[in-house]
């Protein structure tokens, strides 16, 4: 028995030792108490280094330590919903079309930057981050702008001023070789309503109407509005002629343009480096007016302050960083450049000397910010799917296809 007691005592001693070693090492325990004076930022990989630099510069001015955590861009939104409060971020980087969902979830805090600061931003970039069914508030500070444009290989075609010219040149080029594409725009395998938006808006399509207060109304869906449906037979003609082929996926479109097997490519500034190093001579323009201006979707990326900043006791600090420091021209220029995008701040924008980004910027004039209301998640697949079906070369009539998509969207929104 005494041997047992000794053994038991030994065990207890060792275990206590383990516990003593484990507790301070865990760190999570200290994380549950208030961490005043330390700010946690979730960012994607591309911008990590620059955010770290900018946030640290801000932090040393304010006497705050900054912890930058790297996440996959898409995970930032989804993990914010399930993260434990102790390890939750105070500031996140995000896309403007997350605004509605995150605000409806109550996960992000409204911001009120200075009037002088707000004046340096285009209205649509601020609108893009604004949301509210009753009171519309700003939930993010815009950093970078992006949109697709029509990239023209100027050795193979002249820059088209009209839709007819684009169509004629594209089809003539396609006839030259069975490997050639008329307009290289990615859709396969699941549809791509984002890249197809210029063609959609050019025929009179829109996603949600705005009400009198300027808010998007999820009850009025423009995917099959009468004007668009009237123009929809043009899509059948494009399909018959092979102007747009939905079996083209992202890599097929890109390779075709880079190999000179397509004179026209619909893409965005994320390919700016590829284009520059391709050795091709090219110009980026807006898709020529079809029946209406063929404007692209506009995407805005920026920073948001999470509700956890309140419980961590760093809300004013987080707002100082996001709504004040990050909106300064110098921060904007660095952050946008880190990601190869045009800065949202117009003062910073004037200092950008990058012809490719500037051309993409001009291709976005008059564009429509991607709807930021949460109901947009009901739209992507259906709208992309309708284009996929209408342009897959099997002479499926466009009109009923888009009408079905609109009906499905309405059902999904419920």
């Amino acid at each position: 028995m005494s041997r047992r007691t000794a053994f038991g005592a030994l065990v207890v001693v060792v275990m206590l030792g383990m516990v003593a070693a484990a507790v301070p090492a865990s760190g999570a325990v200290s994380g549950t108490v208030a961490t005043s004076g330390s700010l946690r930022i979730w960012t994607d990989k591309d911008r990590r280094a620059d955010i770290e630099r900018i946030a640290t510069a801000w932090g040393s001015r304010r006497g705050v330590t900054v912890e930058v955590v790297e996440k996959n861009f898409g995970d930032i939104r989804d993990q914010l919903k399930t993260v434990a409060p102790a390890t939750a971020p105070d500031v996140i980087i995000g896309a403007h079309d997350w605004t509605g969902q995150l605000a409806a979830d109550g996960l992000v805090l409204p911001l009120s930057p200075k009037k002088a600061t707000l004046k340096q931003f285009p209205k649509y970039a601020l609108d893009a981050f604004s949301y509210g069914t009753a009171v519309k508030r700003l939930y993010g500070s815009p950093v970078a702008l992006e949109n697709v444009g029509l990239v023209v290989n100027t050795r193979l075609a002249t820059v088209p001023k009209t839709w007819a010219s684009l169509q004629k040149q594209a089809l003539a080029f396609k006839k030259k070789s069975p490997d050639n594409l008329a307009i290289a725009v990615p859709q396969a395998p699941a549809g791509d309503a984002y890249h197809m938006y210029p063609f959609f808006s050019g025929l009179g399509g829109f996603v949600f109407a705005r009400n009198k207060a300027g808010n998007l109304n999820p009850r009025v869906i423009g995917v099959a509005n009468p004007v668009f449906l009237k123009n929809a037979p043009m899509i059948d003609a494009w399909d018959r002629l092979g102007l747009i082929n939905s079996k083209v996926n992202y890599d097929t479109a890109k390779n075709a343009f880079l190999k000179g097997q397509a004179a026209f490519w619909v893409t965005g500034p994320w390919e700016a480096d590829t284009l520059r190093s391709s050795g091709l001579s090219f110009r980026i323009v807006q898709v020529p007016k079809i029946k209406f201006r063929s404007v692209p979707f506009l995407g805005v990326q920026g920073f948001m302050v999470t509700r956890f900043a309140n419980s961590h006791g760093v809300a004013t600090l987080a707002k100082d960083l996001v709504a004040s420091y990050i909106m300064l021209p110098a921060s904007q220029r660095a952050l946008a450049a880190a990601n190869g995008r045009f800065p949202a701040n117009t003062v910073a924008g004037k200092q950008v000397n990058n012809p490719v980004l500037a051309q993409f910027g001009r291709a976005g004039v008059g564009g429509v910010p991607m709807p930021n209301i949460p109901q947009m998640s009901s739209v992507w697949e259906e709208l992309g799917g309708a284009w996929l079906k209408a342009t897959n070369g099997t002479s499926t009539a466009a009109r009923p296809t888009f009408a079905t998509a609109a009906r499905n969207i309405r059902n999904k929104i419920g």
Partner: protein, 537 residues
Amino acid sequence: MTTTAARAEVPPRPTFAQKVMALPSRAAPFFSGPVGLAIKIFLLALVNALAVWAAIVLADEGKWAAVAVLAVTTFLIDLAYLTRRALPLKFLIPGTVLMIAFQVVPILYTVNVAFTNYSTGHILSKDQAIVGIKGNSLAPPPDGKSYLMAPARDADGALVLLLVDEDTGNTFVGTTEELRPIERSSVEVDDLGIVSAEGYTLVKGPELVTLDRELTAYTVPTSGDAAIRPEGLDTAVELAPTLRYQPARDQFTRIADGVVFTDNEKGSFTARSGEELEPGWKTNIGFANFDKILHNPLVRDPFLRVFVWTFVFAFLAVLISFVLGLLLAITLDKPDMHFLRTYRVLLILPYAIPGFLSLLVWQGLLNDDFGVVNKLLHIDVPWLFDSNWAKVSVILVSVWLTSPYFFLISLGALQSIPTELKEAARVDGGGPWQVFRKVTLPLLLIVVGPLLIASFAFNFNNFGNIYFLTGGGPQSSDQTTAGDTDILISYTYKIAFASGKGQDYGLASAIALIIFFIVATISSLAFWRTNALENIR
């Protein structure tokens, strides 16, 4: 122990394989000694340390019931391993703990979520939602001002806000009682904001950081409900509530028009008109999700079609994979064949590559204008764009992915069937087909049967195959949101994660429960059949 005796006999040198095989029996005595004891104490101590750490975290969040359960379980685990009794328990505990953690808890959680409204707009608690609504509904009043701001201490050391009107440049001191104009010349301002003010000391550096909670709650009343609030560390904005919360009645009233928003028992404050305040909260909503499944046309209309196709897909994918795997196994079950190992390795390769990679590669190969399959064979098959061909493609790719598994299993099972049985059948005059049909196959099925059922259940929920290859498409001619190759689980994903306001975990869990019951029913029926098969033996 018997080493001297063994040496005397001079056994043949053991081969490497024999040495390896002997390891477990040599390990047993090694681990029963002090080394084993030390490892045991170390592992137990690790478990206890984890438990203590978990207990501290749980206690910190006030979850005392969980702490109690944790303490009792940890004590029982220690007891089981520290006493000499309860030997079977020592082997059962690790498995049981893992089963509870990875099987029972997720199922219970799913059941729990299925009865809630957990979805976009309903993820906070009610208290958190009320705080959120209050914050979101603050709005600048019609002629609301915004100020450059600097927190400062007055002569008595009290916290005040130095304010400079952004439009007029007028200067003020804001306290929790009032907004008081001060001499413009007494405040110095540069590009970065307020630099200094006579009679006040600006709060800077580390002290500023510690003031966060105080500043967040700081309000300088102006007129009516409006107040100036710090927004960051160098900006303050005049904001007024547009909604008023009455805790006693648990309702919000809109100040502008008096509309009342009450708790609708479904996790939101709603007005009579149906207008809803955001955010809402997570709450129990009973059978509402199941009701939605029965009555929502989005779910109901394509259900039967999707259900039948799920069944067909799972059945054919398993059947064809099994038949193909078995044929290959029979072909390669010949020890004297040349390059036998090479063949086997080649056959197992698809199984060794991560499934989603193969699926993405296949998606490219099968593209009907640009895919390698059509180009090499000089055919024009719309593999992924025609509804029937897409179904064929999905099954073909599943067969490519799973037949190596059945090849491996069948090969092992074939080799375990005693050759005497087959010889006896042959002596009795049975032809090769008869021997296979009457002897090999039944014996094989006893081994493979349960695996076939498991594989069927797996394919019934084979989300990846559908999602990565066709995404459920092409769009169906019956004009519903379910594509032609959508199976129940991929369709669930579409209606729960790509519709409404984004994510609806509650609805997804409810459908998952229904699928669980379908699969469980089918599996238990099938297991019941294989048991019958075993009894014949």
